[in-house]
């Protein structure tokens, strides 16, 4: 009995020491990480809105060309042509998937799509972030909802080919987009009227 209590004590001490180290490192790196995340978002929005940019001047390009609006408490982004973009997030197969979805001004079709972060199976599910897959979404109708179909079988306006061998990740991405659209479309319609 005493044995086990001693063990528990050791584990708690060990855990506390390591936790302290972690917290210290986190405090030190948090501002840099936050800044990197912000840059990633801006890069992704600029790409989704088809605004050319240089690494060194991302902030300036963003400030000059993107109008930031507010729909239901969360921001959305517009470019000169009225293309509306917003950040989406959700669960993929392994971890969170985050990116930016850009819609045509009539909020009926996908203009473009970029992925900021995903943790899917490297070489397989992770290919959902590749340009070749993302391009499949361009021009697809989002009404009533996007649909993921087997590769080569896309027929209706809202069908998107999945990646062979990465069905689960492809379906997950479409599911995430639909869920985010369902949540944000009404507010976006309001805000862009």
């Amino acid at each position: 009995m005493k044995d086990r209590l001693l063990m528990l004590l050791f584990v708690l001490v060990c855990g506390t020491v390591l936790t302290a180290a972690l917290v210290a490192v986190d405090a030190y790196t948090a501002p840099m990480i936050a800044r990197n995340e912000e840059l990633k978002l801006k890069r992704s929005v600029l790409a989704a809105l088809h605004i050319p940019f240089e690494e060194a001047t991302i902030e300036r390009t963003f400030a000059d060309n993107v109008t930031v609006g507010n729909a239901g408490g969360t921001p959305f982004y517009r470019n000169a042509e009225g293309i509306v973009a917003f950040a989406f997030t959700g669960s993929g197969l392994w971890g969170p998937v985050r990116g930016t979805l850009a819609l045509t001004p009539d909020l009926g079709k996908v203009s473009d799509l970029t992925i900021i972060h995903q943790e899917e199976t490297p070489g397989l599910g992770s290919r959902i972030a590749e340009r070749s897959h993302l391009d499949r979404f361009r021009g697809r109708s989002i009404l009533p909802a996007l649909a993921s179909v087997a590769a080569g079988k896309a027929a209706a306006d809202s069908d998107v080919d999945a990646i062979t061998g990465a069905t689960l990740s492809s379906n997950a991405l479409v599911g995430i987009l639909n869920a985010n659209l369902a949540a944000r479309l009404p507010e976006l319609k309001e805000a862009t009227r």
């Binding site: 044995d3 001693l6 063990m7 050791f10 584990v11 060990c14 855990g15 390591l18 936790t19 180290a21 972690l22 490192v25 986190d26 030190y28 790196t29 840099m32 990480i33 990197n36 990633k40 392994w94 971890g95 972060h117 943790e119 899917e120 199976t121 490297p122 070489g123 397989l124 992770s126 062979t164 061998g165």
Partner: protein, 208 residues
């Protein structure tokens, strides 16, 4: 653990340790460790290299920590101690990468979890680091890491070439090649690893 004669020749013992990790007692084929990750990550050569490098790096660090602290870790909590030390270390490295080298961190992101739970780390910590000096543990860690990476890359070369038609992104199969997609997925991983086990075990003369 070693005869008096061997102890008198530290160089020989080190080389012996190295050889054992890389071939004789190979982590995947002999000890049957690190299977989870070798199945999941060996579908492309660049993933294999990244994972192998990551595991080797953490193996070396773990060797230093565990061997260095071996007199302080009580017997019964060894396993948990390994796990929290390894987890804390990997998370700290991940934080630094995310702050200072975001592109690398994006690449390594999915592996972080896989590295923490990689049985090779626990296995070596328990079998070697906890009972050996830091220098010896470093050699063992390096050897196992290299053996593991070598295997992963070998398997990945085949899986990528046949499953995607490329190696390291460069096209190696002719234009008419139809990808064997199954090889880039879970079942293909099992088949290939078992083939490798068959070949290496037969060569090494090992029995079940």
């Amino acid at each position: 653990m070693s005869s008096p004669a061997a102890l008198r020749r530290p160089g020989a013992q080190t080389w012996g340790t190295f050889l054992t990790g890389v071939w004789r007692d190979h982590p995947i084929f002999s000890q049957v460790l690190g299977i989870c990750s070798s199945l999941a990550v060996s579908n492309r050569v660049e993933n294999a290299i990244a994972m192998g490098a990551g595991v080797t790096f953490v193996l070396l660090a773990t060797a230093v920590f565990i061997a260095g602290l071996r007199k302080l870790i009580p017997g019964r909590v060894r396993m948990i101690a390994y796990m929290i030390i390894i987890a804390a270390f990997v998370i700290i490295v991940d934080r630094f990468l995310r702050a200072f080298f975001p592109p690398i961190s994006e690449q390594i992101g999915p592996y972080v979890g896989l590295i923490i739970t990689n049985c090779i780390l626990m296995g070596r910590a328990e079998a070697f680091f906890i009972t050996n000096t830091v220098p010896q543990s470093l050699v063992d860690g390096l050897a196992n890491g290299l053996g593991y990476t070598m295997t992963l890359v070998l398997i990945a070369i085949i899986r990528e070439a046949v499953g995607f038609g490329t190696i390291l992104g460069m096209r190696v199969m002719g234009a008419g090649w139809v990808n064997w997609v199954v090889l880039s997925m879970a079942p293909g991983a099992f088949f290939l690893v078992s083939l490798f086990i068959w070949i290496t075990r037969t060569l090494a003369g090992k029995d079940a």
